[in-house]
Symmetry: C2
Subunit: 238 residues, 2 copies
């Protein structure tokens, strides 16, 4: 009876961590979505909201970390239970980073608002963020089901985001070459696009952590990666 | 006798983690230093070396993580010992990210080598990396002594790096406006400067983790931060 009571309390503690992580995921998604919306509509009030939301996410990460250490010390879990807790810490750290990337984008809204974001480019950034958010949403769904199979398939889809980022990168360079007045705003947009691209990397990290929680192993092989934006050398003649 | 034997084996395991982290720190420092050297001297062979060194750092991080979980499961540590192990995982993750940032810089060497890095700018980037590496070196020294006091003081020095990054950011924008042929290489240099600036953030994270390992608490208050580069809007008229 006593041991079943202990088990159930432990179970509650694990559920607490899982609930906090789902909440963190929801807030991180919202921050990213709102930061891009603020950027393409030059909405500084919305940007300010994203910046202040980041403190909530930071506090949640600290709470998950502190709680995890307390649970390990008190329950001395092993095997799958221990992996569950260690995985929670890693996922919370990735979600906190996603929120940071949203905040970084929001901070640049002020720098680009004077000229606004060109319509064509706004569509590209929105589409990039939709892809990144879709990947994040799927990985958070996989977190609830703990399917190693699905976690592995998400990990293989980051390439699409990378390819779109490279295309936006090229487009921004072109705008900058067309008119020097575009240089400052487009530079900030380059960093915004990079922020969004990196959300895909964090979703991939989370997928790898879920795979580890479910199986105790790291997924094999390198993650697929399209790195071409790092070496883009757009032609400036004509 | 048996318990002293167990204690000493546990001690050896903790020492193993600490040794691996020091090795990771040394490799991460070397990668950053070589990536900047490769960048300012357009040395693609050295850049290639940095890129392949990253696999060693990734493997070391996984080893620390796996070993940490095994130690927790086997020894069921609490209090300071548990914090020591949890802290090792976090520090290993930060050092792995520092290596990634070095690798990212190395990857851009190819993109900028055609035009090379302007002498004046090279000096700026070297100086920025010296500051970041000094901060990293100091934090790794503090890791060996576990001084909470020193960890706290390092955390307060990231501002200097941020201010220098902002100045390089402005300078790069100016070069881009002067001549459209500078746009592509300077864009890559912007990302390199950002990579180096972020090394300072990771050194600060490590300082916070050391403070946590030593005291069981997070350092109080926000970390000092100069974010002005996010809102730079250089004038293009004249």
């Amino acid at each position: 009876m006593a041991s079943s009571h202990i088990y159930s309390a432990f179970d509650e503690e694990l559920k607490f961590l899982a609930r906090r992580i789902s909440e963190m995921g929801g807030l991180a998604e919202q921050m990213v979505s709102e930061s891009v919306q603020a950027l393409v509509t030059s909405n500084t009030a919305l940007a300010q909201k994203v910046i202040s939301d980041d403190a909530t996410l930071d506090a949640a990460e600290r709470e998950v970390g502190d709680k995890a250490v307390i649970i390990i010390a008190r329950r001395q879990p092993v095997a799958a239970d221990l992996r569950e807790i260690m995985g929670s810490i890693r996922i919370a750290a990735d979600l906190e980073r996603v929120g940071d990337l949203g905040k970084n984008t929001a901070k640049r809204v002020i720098a680009v608002q004077a000229q606004g974001v060109p319509r064509k480019l706004a569509r590209g950034l929105e589409h990039l963020s939709e892809l990144a958010l879709m990947q994040l949403k799927e990985v958070l769904d996989v977190y609830t089901t703990r399917s190693a199979e699905k976690a592995k398939s998400i990990r293989e889809r980051d390439e699409e985001i990378d390819a779109m980022y490279t295309s936006i990168f090229r487009e921004l360079l072109t705008y900058m070459m067309e008119d020097p007045r575009n240089i400052t705003p487009c530079t900030h947009l380059l960093f915004c696009a990079k922020n969004i691209e990196r959300i895909g990397d964090h979703a991939t990290n989370i997928a790898e952590t879920i795979y580890y929680m479910a199986t105790g192993a790291q997924p094999e092989g390198d993650r697929p990666k399209d790195d071409t934006a790092n070496t883009v050398t757009a032609s400036v003649t004509e």
